[in-house]
């Protein structure tokens, strides 16, 4: 059987509770596609706020009853606050131990970083100290020209050179790690070269997606499809599919979805908990003020009063069909068409999470076309391999 590498899932595959500390809203970069519209240098989480949040979470086992936990640290750029993070993690470990909390035996600290501070001695010290409980992803968008189109410093110059030098150390410390690539309108022509470049850097797992926001121009779907068709050919011709993954290609996308059996929501907003510097709780970071362009934040509680469970009810009962248009529900290639609950809310005609944004509709269709082509070619190769194998066996029998 032909080996096909799939994208790695997250630790515990969505079964763990996700608790996010927004430790800072500052970042060295000002990425052009960043949805964090309210980044600033002022809002840094005080340790006391983190401590109270931890006390609340760990003392409410009934509400937080998952068997595992992922503590996410995000920003801005989380490594800007490595000292604070180290202190928070020490407190978490100490308290989980003291309380004999089941999470003490099943926790992860998770980071998505721009990678600029990865080799910083303080960051390295932290990584070494917590290495058995860490997941770290560095974002690098591909080739220098693609990366530097979007991932720029505040003065406008690209960050590629400063990130790429840290990739070898990262892959050495976290072998098999994947990177997350975001594609906007302007950098569509550079998808193929970028995925190939990332593979050449030793990153075998590329999680790549187009932005959910409504930025797409006429003809972008054609460009995307063209790029993905080229990418499909290269991955197949070079047999890269055996040990490299690219999330644009997946065998579960592009099928109709049953309104009853396939009615689950795409994302886990509401299942996760996000905490900001003021001690406010959010159903996901995307509902914090600094993430929203046009809507008020959805604050579901705070470290003093706890969670208002009434505000969680819409999130926990949300399903695919209730928020989708008739066209989406009846779409013949609906599976794999993703959405971000926060972007849905931000783009909705009224302040609701029940209106699905459809800005990526054409882009999804383009992806499905290329994906069908990819699997059509790949399955034929597998078919032939199977046939050859059978023929050989048959010949052996006849001899």
């Amino acid at each position: 059987m032909t080996q096909i590498k799939e994208n790695s899932g997250s630790w515990q595959e969505g079964m763990a509770k996700s608790i996010t500390f927004i430790v800072t809203k500052d970042c060295q970069l000002a990425c052009k596609y960043c949805y964090l519209v309210g980044k600033n240098e002022k809002e840094r989480m005080p340790f006391d706020i983190a401590k109270k949040a931890i006390d609340y979470v760990l003392s409410n086992r009934e509400m937080f009853n998952e068997s595992s936990v992922i503590y996410d640290f995000i920003g801005g750029e989380p490594f800007l606050e490595i000292e604070l993070i180290d202190k928070i993690c020490d407190y978490l470990k100490e308290q989980m131990f003291i309380l004999n909390h089941p999470w003490f035996n099943s926790y992860r600290f998770n980071f998505s970083t721009n990678g600029l501070l990865y080799n910083d001695p303080q960051v390295q010290k932290y990584l070494h100290k917590n290495r058995t409980h860490l997941s770290v992803g560095i974002t690098i968008d591909g080739t220098k020209r693609k990366h530097d189109m979007n991932r720029v410093y505040k003065d406008g110059h690209g960050s590629y050179d400063d990130v790429v030098k840290n990739i070898p150390l990262w892959l050495e410390q976290f072998p098999g790690s994947g990177t997350k690539v975001t594609v906007g309108s302007a950098d569509l022509p550079y998808i193929v070269e970028s995925v190939m470049h990332l593979y050449s850097l030793g990153i075998k797992d590329v999680n790549i997606n187009v932005v959910f926001e409504d930025i797409w121009k006429y003809g972008d779907d054609v460009l995307l499809e063209d790029q993905l068709l080229q990418l499909a050919d290269i991955i197949i011709d070079k047999e890269l599919y055996k040990d490299h993954a690219c999330s644009f290609f997946s065998d579960f996308i592009g099928n109709p979805q049953d309104p009853v059996l396939d009615n689950q929501n795409w994302c886990g907003a509401g299942k996760m908990l996000s905490i900001d510097a003021e001690g406010n709780f959010y159903p996901c970071t995307r509902f914090a003020k600094y993430s929203l362009r046009s809507k008020p934040p959805i604050i579901i509680g705070n470290i003093h009063d706890g969670i208002n469970t009434n505000l969680l009810r819409p999130f926990l009962t949300l399903d695919r069909c209730t928020q989708s248009t008739r066209e989406c529900i009846e779409c013949e290639i609906a599976s794999g068409c993703a959405w971000c609950q926060g972007e849905n809310y931000d783009a909705a005609d009224t302040p609701t999470i029940f209106q699905r944004a459809t800005a990526i509709c054409k882009m999804h269709k383009a992806r499905v076309h290329a994906n069908n082509y990819y699997w059509s070619r790949l399955s034929r190769i597998m078919e032939k391999e199977e046939l050859n194998k059978l023929r050989k066996e048959s010949l052996r029998c006849n001899i």
Binding site: G268, T309, N310, T322, A348, T352
Partner: protein
Amino acid sequence: MQYLIIILDESANSFCYYPNPNREAKLINLSLLKKAIFYAQKNGLSINFLLGKAKLPKEYLKEIDKVSHIFIMSQNHISDDVFDVFVSDLTLDDNLSETHSNSDSNIILRIDKSQIAELSSKVIALTGKFKRINITIQNIDLFTQKDFDIYAQELEKLSEVFENKINIIGDEECNVLSDRIVLEKMNNCDAGVKHITLAPNGKFYICPAFYYEDDNNSVGDLQNGINVKNQQLYHLSYAPICRVCDAYQCKRCVWLNRKTTLEVNTPSHEQCVVSHLERNTSKKMLIKIQKRGLQVQANEIPDIDYLDPFDKVNRWK
């Protein structure tokens, strides 16, 4: 859309879950009223008029008389000029035994959660005086377990009175007890679906609560018509919790929903539990009535093991 609610006077008292606006009397402009009535006529809508403190001038009454309507007003403002009255805003502070009696009318009794321990004794004082008693509890969203317990006890006491008064369902109704017995499907308020409200400023609102909360909540005006964005969310089929629920008598108040959960299609835990306490008491009452040998045109109300249907539809539990 089936009917239009027209707020004739800014000072109109609340007849529902929203708090009394406590505004000064100010009548809707007569020309606006004419346009509103014309709009209703063109669109085949009947009209509920909300009256306030101001006495209606003759020219207003003349216009109103042109269209099929009912009035909703506070008992303190009843005058001889108006008929077909729904009386609202009785509170437990009122002397209920001296309330105007009208066996053809409905009465709306707004009770604050702080007064629910007195509910049964006060409601009993109204029985026999009206065709129907509609109980609306204020501040449901602040109910605690203790309040749920008291409300359940009061419903029980009320049911003992009503089950003995009822020979044929429909003789005398009390919304929180008799509605569930006769209903076979949801009978919610349906603001935004079956009715819409016109405020004195000439703009449409989902219901009066949305107007009094913030007049920027408008969903159109007389000139441009009604434009409810995401209107599907006001329909039962777009309410994940309510569409699996059988507390058919629940008002499913979209204003309370938005206030408590930020979504018009999602009720709070408190609203669900209150409605289920009513449902379950109705079930017990129905069984007792049937045991008396009375023929009641009602389906059996099934046993359920929850008070909040959220427990059935929580997709992440």
